[in-house]
Symmetry: D2
């Protein structure tokens, strides 16, 4: 099977399970550092990261980031990925936000 | 059962199913408008909205926003909610981001 | 706003954060017990529970189940809810499975 | 980086966006067929599929299943994957259910 591999937008949340305390920032920071090094475009939100790239790039980086808490001693990790893949036109994270903003402004006119 | 009802942070994505075109911005814009009116603190991200408020406020606004695409003629809606509820200390969306930033800076020192 | 409130199908996952060990079965069992008592139709899967009921019933039971790990001493809970709400016809969890099965059989004829 | 690659349990939901009707069973059936052919252990639930396999197998099959609705003419696909990866002991989907059942029985004694 051949297919186009356009840019997709994804959200990623990596949750370590069985950490001693409720604070997860040392794990999130390390995941963010690995995302930074990956070259994949990404933004940290309070509920996970938003990624932009080809589907293959994104699956590769998810594979890598999912490993991080294990390398920090955690024994169980719950990782959630949502992929938004649109092939009728080029989609970007910023473009999605802009198109909603534009509609909101139009309605107020 | 009595319990404290502190602030929680949540992410919300409302996806209309069976729309004629792949574009969902008219539905997202209307949901954003209802969120704006609700008084619940929220930020739009490219993959959904991040909400902040008491758990009860958030469940109420989710109930409301989930109805929006139906009121616009859609016949099926898939709504996803993730709640992050932490009760050992007061958590805010900005605080979560700050605490990751602080760690990243410390590591680079 | 008035609306029909038909049956919806939902999936629910409640993840305690900051437990001492990676094992979560004591929390999942307690959540399952509360679901059993709630009267809401539900099935346990290896990745969460599938619920069936009116949207209001489901939001109420989610509210209750989300509290469980806190009542067991956990200080942070991550709860994920996905709602599939279809209003062009009556949908049931079993009906969704049947309709996929029927298609798979037809294709093999 | 070297790491053990044990069995993980995952849930997968593939949602076509911009279909003409709210019915998605023709897409779900085709995804189920591809899962069947993949050799990866899986069960259909009313809210998605539960998969069992190595992380790499699962990411590969997710990549494949995500393509299905596009090959059926859909122009936008929203795919959600949750990975539960536990490395302190061998975990299976059935084992997770059994361990909850066992606790529920013990409590009732």
């Amino acid at each position: 099977m051949r297919y186009v591999s356009p840019m997709v937008i994804a959200s990623l949340t990596v949750t370590p399970v069985g950490t001693e305390t409720p604070s997860l920032s040392r794990y999130v920071a390390e995941c963010a550092r690995v995302l930074d090094e990956s070259g994949v475009k990404h933004t940290l939100t309070p509920m996970g990261s938003v990624l932009e790239g080809s589907l293959d790039e994104i699956l590769q980086v998810v594979r890598k980031v999912h490993e991080i808490p294990f390398s920090q001693g955690v024994l169980r990790v719950s990782t959630r990925l949502t992929i938004d893949d649109r092939r009728d036109k080029e989609a970007t994270a910023q473009g999605k936000l802009d198109s909603v903003e534009k509609r909101l402004k139009k309605e107020m006119d």
